[in-house]
């Protein structure tokens, strides 16, 4: 497939970046923190390389999407690839592990402490 110039919103581009896949890895929440386990390698898909570069420090999925100017779904697909290759680790949010599990008072207390220090 011929790689088209990068331009958000072009469906062809999304198709190219993801190799035509549309099923995202739902394990990645917007605020899952991603950490690189290795440096980008030569010949790696450029989006994969950029993610590994960004995630030398923990970086939320939503920040990766904003930096790469790619929709969340596309980023989730790319992260699924990197996870499968063992190139990243993911720190998933506690609160989002199940829709029904509400945050406990101890967690909320910590949030309050943090906010009061602002």
């Amino acid at each position: 497939m011929i790689r088209r110039p990068v331009d958000t919103g072009d469906p062809d581009r999304l198709y190219t970046v993801t190799g035509g896949r549309s099923r995202a890895d739902d394990a990645f929440d917007l605020v899952t923190l991603v950490v690189s386990e290795c440096a980008p390698t030569a010949g790696m898909q450029s989006e994969h390389a950029r993610i590994l570069d960004l995630c030398r420090h923990p970086t939320a999925v939503v920040e990766i999407a904003a930096e790469l100017k790619l929709p969340i779904t596309v980023v989730r697909i790319l992260l699924g690839d990197l996870l499968a290759m063992g190139n990243i680790t993911a720190r998933h949010p506690r609160a989002a592990q199940s829709v029904a599990s509400l945050p406990d008072s101890a967690l909320l207390q910590e949030v309050l402490h943090g906010l009061r220090r602002l």
Partner: protein, 205 residues
């Protein structure tokens, strides 16, 4: 939209290496109600924006149909963040209250701690829908009235509570989205509310 996206990745402020828990709070309201302003006033980074696309048939549609045949919906939203401590980071999302946005709620905002409904008293109708949807999604929320200087009405909070048919247990407060301390108070009001709910739950056998 799109113009606020950072162009200098090298100038990003990274999170602490110990950061392990991401948390979400959503600020929802009608157009121009001050969502981005509120996010900006409390965020440690300049608000960034991003988007989610969705095909008509939903994600994971049969791949044999091909991309071109699908109609896509795009929802854009912006966000900021607050590092609460070395381990915990809170993301604040400013999200539009229109219909197509709620379609994506579960995919984007399941597991959110809670929401702030930002209200402009000159366009209170916009808030109805958001309140209704949050109740539907069982997301706890507070309502914050962003007071604009040129609002001639100056409805009291009691009048606004009535107009929105807001139950007594939902906190309702005034704010000025441009002011950091005011934005901080809004967040504390929400998390306090969540804390009290959690305490009640934990006390009830």
């Amino acid at each position: 939209m799109g113009s606020a996206v950072s162009e200098l990745p090298s100038r990003r402020t990274p999170l602490a290496d110990a950061a392990e828990t991401g948390l979400k709070i959503v600020i929802v309201g009608g157009f121009g109600v001050g969502k981005t302003t509120l996010v900006r006033s409390v965020s440690e980074i300049r608000p960034l924006n991003t988007e989610e696309v969705m095909t008509q048939a939903g994600v994971g549609v049969d791949e044999t149909h091909g991309v071109a045949a699908k109609t896509t919906t795009t929802v854009a939203f912006d966000f900021g963040r607050i590092s609460l401590n070395e381990r915990m980071v809170l993301y604040l999302f400013g999200a539009p209250g229109q219909e197509r946005f709620w379609f994506l709620w579960d995919r984007l905002f399941s597991g959110t701690l809670g929401a702030v409904v930002l209200v402009d008293t000159r366009r209170m109708d916009d808030s109805w829908y958001a309140i209704d949807r949050l109740e539907h999604h069982k997301t706890p929320f507070v309502v914050a009235v962003n007071r604009f200087d040129n609002d001639p009405s100056r409805y009291s909070l009691d009048e606004i509570r009535q107009a929105l048919a807001l139950p007594e247990h939902v906190p309702l407060i005034d704010c000025d989205a441009r002011v950091r301390s005011s934005g901080k108070d809004v967040l504390i009001t929400l998390v306090n509310h969540l804390y009290e709910q959690a305490m009640t739950r934990e006390m009830t056998p």
